[in-house]
Symmetry: C2
Amino acid sequence: MDSKSGRRPGSPQTREAILEAAVEAFTEGGYAGTTIRAVARTAGVDPALVMHFFGNKDGLFDAAIRASGLPLRELGEVMEGDIEGVGERLVRRYLSLWESPEHGPKLRAVVSSAASSPAAAAMLKEFITNEVLQPLAGQLGVDQAETRGIIAGSHLIGIAFTRYVLNIGPVASLEKEQLVACVAPAVQRYLTGDLPLA
Amino acid sequence: MDSKSGRRPGSPQTREAILEAAVEAFTEGGYAGTTIRAVARTAGVDPALVMHFFGNKDGLFDAAIRASGLPLRELGEVMEGDIEGVGERLVRRYLSLWESPEHGPKLRAVVSSAASSPAAAAMLKEFITNEVLQPLAGQLGVDQAETRGIIAGSHLIGIAFTRYVLNIGPVASLEKEQLVACVAPAVQRYLTGDLPLA
């Protein structure tokens, strides 16, 4: 225990401080660039205490995603309103999230981590499925809602990857509303249109 | 120089052997997990010779993508045939590439590397733009062909990321032809349909 920090091992404040350090570390360095040791140092605790709370790096990453304050569950709010506009509302809300100074860097870290680490990918997969897709699918009231949700989600992840991670010219430089207008009809079709699903 | 290998420094065969080792290393470990030292060891040469040929790790990655034999340029062949079917042909060809035992792991390594390394992302961006999008756009004969190509490409990257990297249930378990039927209309619209582009 780092005596300078004055934190008691095992207290909720200590767990909180570790999580805060973890969110910061994963956001800056991604999954591969983050170590338990560095997180412990930032939080002013012994690495063993990080292990005590979170088991291992995967457990810490999982907890950090949940603690990161990413308002992904709020994406479900786009279900409010007419169903013909759900695609447009979802694309707009999603791009706004990526473009927010608070959440954009965290989203980027999550996607980058998932691409380079199978453990991080498994976490992201579980998180997207349980926290985003299943609630959304439940509200859609259409057949094959989960499959529809994830095809739409695939499209949105690809847009973010090219626009915000790879930063490829034409997609990166489009105005947000122009991109919304391009992409919304495809997302709308995936969510509520005629699809050749069994 | 490793005397065991019997390779002459500076010979084309030596460069070839380094590249082969690099493609293998990047495919297995991604950008972050690959070192010049390990590539040199596999190729049986001194690390300084790797630097001599390729400058640094970024240069080696760039050369490895080009040497990997990924038949991305062949995606342009989908332009042959009626223009109403180009979306379907492109999606089918692209998914087949990801599902081939030879090319799938390499594609996965490229996408993972780009997600975790800005240098690798810059390479992938330049490669996609110059080698895939511009030739494709030139053949489409539509306005804003490059922007169309990259929006379609974004969608395809997202599908591959969810299906082959994250391996998320509903998208990962769809039959390839079912996924082609779902996604082709959206890609077709991006390539040749009415889009609100300036």
